[in-house]
């Protein structure tokens, strides 16, 4: 994935939408900025395939030595696939947060949450201001 073409939530999740005409598939991950901030990742919790998620709902958590960070989906959908090898290979998040560090894929049931997301430039600005 090219980070410049993704959408971002203020809570640092990235979203990629694959519009297949009859349905939309969303891939969610965690931004490189957030991974760098978290530092020293030790644990990750992912939802079960088939879980129905509302926009804004917590779907998992990523934990560092110092803190636990919940993961939120900005759009509603059903969990289609999870990156089940990721919790045993947390270094993928550092190495390829936009590649093999993807977290879940959703079958989108309501994409109205997309309107609240930031494009790459706006997200970069948010990170610069908080950093």
């Amino acid at each position: 994935m090219n980070p410049e073409q993704l959408l971002y939530a203020e809570t640092h999740e990235w979203v990629h939408i694959d519009d297949q005409g009859d349905q939309k598939i969303a891939t969610l991950g965690i931004s490189a900025f957030a991974i760098e901030q978290l530092n020293d990742l030790v644990y990750m919790d992912l939802p079960a395939v088939g879980t129905a998620l509302d926009a804004g709902q917590e779907f998992g958590e990523v934990e560092s030595v110092k803190a636990v960070s919940p993961l939120y989906t900005p759009i509603a959908g059903e969990v289609l696939e999870v990156n089940s090898d990721l919790p045993d290979n947390l270094e993928w998040l550092n190495e390829e947060p936009y590649g093999k560090g993807w977290v879940i894929k959703l079958k989108v049931t309501d994409d109205s949450g997309l309107a609240n997301l930031l494009d790459h430039a706006a997200y970069e600005k948010q990170c610069a201001e908080s950093g």
Binding site: N39, D40, V42, Y43, D45, E63, S64, V65, K66, V68
Partner: protein
């Protein structure tokens, strides 16, 4: 950052090193410079430097200084030899812990003897307020808060002593554990004590605030070829947890007494009177109802402070006071209090880890002990 935060004399260095800074006990302190795990491992395998200038430093002068401290502390300190240091607790009348402290009996090169009390940063104001009324009963004693006039630096790790061997007028490695001296560094006075909070060998250094940056940079330079790096409060916390050491505000507070906290060694209850003595003697006779224990949770998910500890039948029998992934053991570790009936080492129990129960085993403290 709010400008109301106090700065240690080393804050400019932390900033320039790119540290993650956060408010801690009213000070802007470095939590980490890079990776907490790397800083932790550097302390276990080589050496690390900590800015601990936020810790409170109270100086007691006068012939009755030891007598005053004896009255305030759970452990006898009037028999401290010159250069000797002792860990002790300050309690209220009910036996609740106001703070855990280090007392040093020190003599200046010019022959002036005094006692130094190092207190937790978060308790400094409370302790100064607590002690002040008692000064009236010991008119020869003056208490001076030296915290803002000085800085405190800890160098800890297996290579710490060889790194700082040549930096002081008298070689710190000649000091026994829990001994201290006032020596010189570049002809400026420095208090050096063989103490620490990591489970490793090392020293803590107190210098005048204006000397702090120079000595810090000297140590960084001297330690470079030995693998020394600066470490923040994040690694300091995981290091002390592995070493099984309690932390005020987590394992210790005013609702917990020293006997419950497993700190009986720091209480001399016989043949002396001090604030809280009667309450502690009563607790000692009856026996505390809870015990501070080490916990090894199963799996990889760390348990954190505040998680309920449950019996295998699901009854709440205690709570977690500190928890973290242990970089040395490579798995989660925790400390907490449990009811005595459940406190036996190797007992299995459950921890309510934010809504999910996780099996855990009670283990003896510390989790980590260095080879001496």
């Amino acid at each position: 950052m709010t400008s109301s935060l106090a700065a240690t004399p080393l804050l400019p260095w932390h900033r320039s090193a790119g540290a993650t800074l956060a408010p801690f006990a009213g000070y802007e302190m470095p939590i980490q410079y890079g990776s907490i795990v790397e800083e932790h491992q550097a302390c276990r395998n080589a050496a690390t430097l900590f800015d601990v200038s936020h810790m409170g430093r109270l100086r007691f002068d006068g012939t009755d200084a030891a007598a005053l401290l004896d009255h305030l502390l759970t452990r006898r300190v009037s028999d401290l030899k010159e250069g000797q240091i002792r860990y002790s607790l300050m309690c209220n009348e009910e036996g609740g812990i106001l703070d855990d402290v280090l007392v040093s009996n020190l003599t200046t090169p010019s022959g002036l003897n005094y006692h130094l009390l190092v207190v937790n940063a978060s308790n400094r104001e409370k302790i100064v307020k607590w002690i002040t009324p008692h000064l009236a009963d010991f008119p020869s004693v003056t208490m001076t808060d030296r915290t803002d006039l000085t800085a405190m630096i800890a160098i800890q790790g297996p290579r710490a002593m060889e790194i700082c061997g040549n930096l002081f007028k008298s070689d710190p490695s000649r000091l026994k554990y829990y001994r201290g001296t006032i020596t010189e560094q570049f002809s400026k006075p420095a208090i050096v004590t063989r103490t620490g909070y990591t489970g490793e060998d090392g020293i803590e250094i107190i210098v005048r605030a204006e000397e702090a940056m120079r000595i810090w940079e000297n140590l960084i330079l001297a330690g470079r070829k030995h693998g020394l790096i600066a470490a923040g409060l994040g690694a300091r916390d995981t290091l002390r947890l592995e070493a099984g050491m309690p932390l005020y505000g987590h394992e210790l507070n005013e609702q917990i007494d020293p006997l419950t906290a497993g700190l009986k060694f720091a209480c001399n209850l016989e043949g002396r009177s001090f604030i809280g003595d009667e309450a502690l003697r009563t607790i000692a006779q009856q026996g505390p109802t809870r015990t501070r224990v080490g916990l090894l949770p199963e799996g990889r998910r760390p348990v954190r402070e505040g998680c309920d500890i449950l019996s295998n039948e699901g009854a709440v029998i205690g709570s977690v006071t500190s928890g973290a992934p242990s970089p040395t053991l490579g798995k989660p570790i925790a400390m907490g209090y449990v009811d005595n009936a459940f406190a036996a080492v190797d007992s299995s129990l459950q921890i309510d880890n934010r809504g999910r129960t996780q099996a855990a085993t009670i283990t003896s403290l510390p989790f980590y002990k260095r080879e001496r």
